[in-house]
């Protein structure tokens, strides 16, 4: 935390100093930098040219451009305004004047070529147009069908070089695909790339499944399944398709999440009308009870360093958010606003907890600091629920459900993302209705 903050402060100082020097000297070494820690960011005008060579080069550039645009931090420029062509860029230096005149501050060029061994080689370069220098350049080799992932990796490299923060484009979303009438909803586990591509169903819908969450390696998903009419927490291995019930509990287990090291799953056990929080060690299979209270204690989520847990409880009379140490001690209530608070999820950066709030008949998604200060609302609606964090802690995804049809008797449920400014809300494209999203870490 402190190292990162110092680094950000340093970058900001460099950017400021560079602007001042540039005013007197043309030869300035200005570093193109977008500070996304402030509340109001002007999107950076960027020219993403088609990658020269193979036809897939144009598709790669489109995916890079779409990733950057969706972040709300970049404003890709219209290709029709481009003067210098992709082949000229591939065979020489940028003519910076050609890009400055269309107000581009950053320029991305690249090439895509097939190697003798059949692999695809993709190169890209990122230029600072005003400082007239290359900021970064990388090359990747992949099987031809891996081009889409390479595009996301390039978008992450651009995002990181310009903002100083890790990107989140080479990631996947696991979610619940919904279909059928609301009284007999069919729900399937589904997985897709962060931009909605490569959608795949992991279960066939015969069994009700809910609340999937990724392991830290994105190889496994823990979720709730009603298999055999016994609602229990399961683990699904994404590579093998194997499913396994977790633990041997005498009642319904639900609300699972992995610990940050991936060695444990924290979840709720409901038994005889009482719900408490338990920890299951995946190696020893040992179960540890963490709360012992007649109230509903559920929706637990670890802090990224594993030392603390946030959860919801109605022990104070209504559903509110609490924190406690990882061993169950030192319970502190952190929400005190009007209404109810639930679904707390600790940010991967550790600085915020995202939540769902129900107040005055409205649902909203918000964030709050772990000490209970700085509460902010980001999105609101008829039913907005279940935030999940992008791995860099700058973007959230959740689902929004609204009544449709005659008398509001049907439902439309869709996934949305929003950045922490609350100004860039985007609907995700999914083939069917969708809920319960969970964002993967960056794919290893």
């Amino acid at each position: 935390m402190t190292t990162r903050q110092t680094l950000t402060a340093l970058r900001r100082a460099i950017a400021l100093a560079a602007v001042m020097i540039m005013a007197v000297a043309v030869q300035a070494k200005a570093e193109l930098h977008l500070d996304i820690t402030t509340g109001n960011v002007q999107p950076l005008p960027i020219a993403v040219t088609q990658f020269y060579g193979e036809a897939v080069g144009a598709q790669i550039a489109n995916v890079v451009e779409a990733d950057l645009e969706r972040s709300g931090l970049f404003r890709p420029l219209d290709h029709r305004a481009f003067i210098q062509t992709p082949d000229q860029l591939a065979n020489g230096l940028p003519r910076y004047g050609d890009w400055k005149v269309i107000n581009a501050q950053a320029l991305v060029s690249g090439t895509a070529s097939v190697q003798p061994d059949g692999r695809l080689k993709v190169e890209f370069r990122l230029f600072d147009v005003l400082a007239q220098q290359q900021l970064t350049g990388l090359a990747y080799f992949t099987q031809p069908d891996g081009w889409r992932r390479i595009a996301h990796i390039i978008a992450d490299a651009i995002y990181k070089r310009i903002t100083g923060e890790d990107g989140y484009f080479d990631t996947r979303i696991v979610y619940i695909a919904e279909s059928g009438p609301a009284t007999a909803r069919q729900k399937r586990l589904a997985i897709m790339d962060q931009d909605g591509e490569n959608n795949l169903y992991l279960t066939d819908g015969r069994v009700l499944v809910l609340t999937p969450r990724f392991s830290p390696t994105a190889q496994e998903i823990t979720y709730l399944s009603y298999f055999n009419n016994r609602p229990r927490v399961y683990i699904f291995n994404v590579d093998t398709g194997r499913q396994e019930v977790l633990g041997d509990f005498p009642g319904m287990t639900f609300a699972p999440r992995f610990s940050p090291d991936g060695n444990k799953v924290i979840m709720s056990l409901a038994q005889n009308g009482n719900t408490d929080i338990y920890l299951l060690d995946l190696r020893t299979r040992r179960q540890t009870r963490l709360t012992d209270n007649p109230a509903i204690d559920t929706a637990p989520s670890f802090s990224p360093d594993g030392s603390k847990i946030t959860f919801e409880s109605d022990r104070g009379g209504s559903q509110q958010i609490y924190t406690m140490n990882a061993d169950g001690t030192n319970v502190q209530r952190i929400t005190f606003g009007a209404g109810k608070y639930g679904t707390p999820v600790w940010s991967p950066r550790g600085d915020l907890i995202a939540f769902t709030r129900i107040n005055g008949g409205r649902f909203s998604i918000g964030v709050i600091r772990p000490d209970g200060s700085g509460e902010r609302e980001l999105s609101t609606g008829y039913l907005v629920e279940g935030p999940t964090w992008a791995p860099n802690g700058r973007v959230l995804m959740y689902f929004k459900e609204k009544p449709t049809g005659e008398g509001g008797r049907q439902r439309q449920v869709r996934l949305y993302s929003i950045d922490l400014t609350g100004r860039n809300e985007r609907q995700m494209l999914t083939p069917t209705d969708a809920s319960d999203p969970a964002w993967s870490p960056l794919i290893p």
Binding site: L138, A139, R185, V238, S268, D314, Q319, E401, D436
Partner: protein, 167 residues
């Protein structure tokens, strides 16, 4: 100009088709009965067979309702459960599953816990009146199986329910 070279092997791990999924049984059999019980079946000269599921639903009443975020039994609820208990004593061989449900105005996981509370409130009442514990199972569906569709209190009130299902 710096160029880093990174080799990336076959990108996307292919997800195996779900051949090994344990999902072989059909969807919960109780989902259908919940929606069909609000309207009585067409009148037949004979009526439901005594001791049958239909007999229980039509002549006893299979469900009780709860207040918003509540799991205590109302006088109407206990009156219905008294009738259920009498019927269950008469037909001592049947086993039951008590479903706990919530309306859509809560979060998913909280509602799963709330549904479990409601199902247990029904179970505790029935067993206290003498129904053998071994005959009773509970399951919570949270807000996953509404009985009635609608975006108003009248609809939500019918969804906050405990349903006694004859197995």
């Amino acid at each position: 100009m710096r160029m880093n070279y990174l080799s990336l092997c076959a990108a996307l791990a292919l997800v195996a088709a779900c051949s090994s999924t344990p999902e072989k049984k059909a969807e919960v059999a109780t989902g259908g009965t919940a929606t069909t019980t609000t309207t009585p079946p067409a009148a037949k000269p004979t009526g439901p067979v005594p001791g049958s599921k239909e007999d229980f639903v039509v002549n006893v009443g299979d469900r009780v309702f709860f207040g918003y975020d509540k799991f205590d039994l109302t006088p109407e609820a206990t009156a219905t459960l008294d009738k259920q208990a009498a019927w269950l004593k008469k037909y001592g061989q049947v086993t039951i599953t008590i479903e706990g449900h919530a309306d859509e105005r809560g979060t998913r996981e909280y509602n799963l816990a709330l549904g479990e509370r409601r199902a247990n409130a029904v179970k505790n009442y029935l067993t206290a009146t003498g129904v053998d514990l071994a005959r009773v199972q509970v399951i919570s569906y949270g807000k996953e199986r509404p009985a009635v569709l609608g975006s108003n209190e009248a609809a939500w009130a019918q969804n906050r329910r405990g349903v006694t299902v004859i197995n």
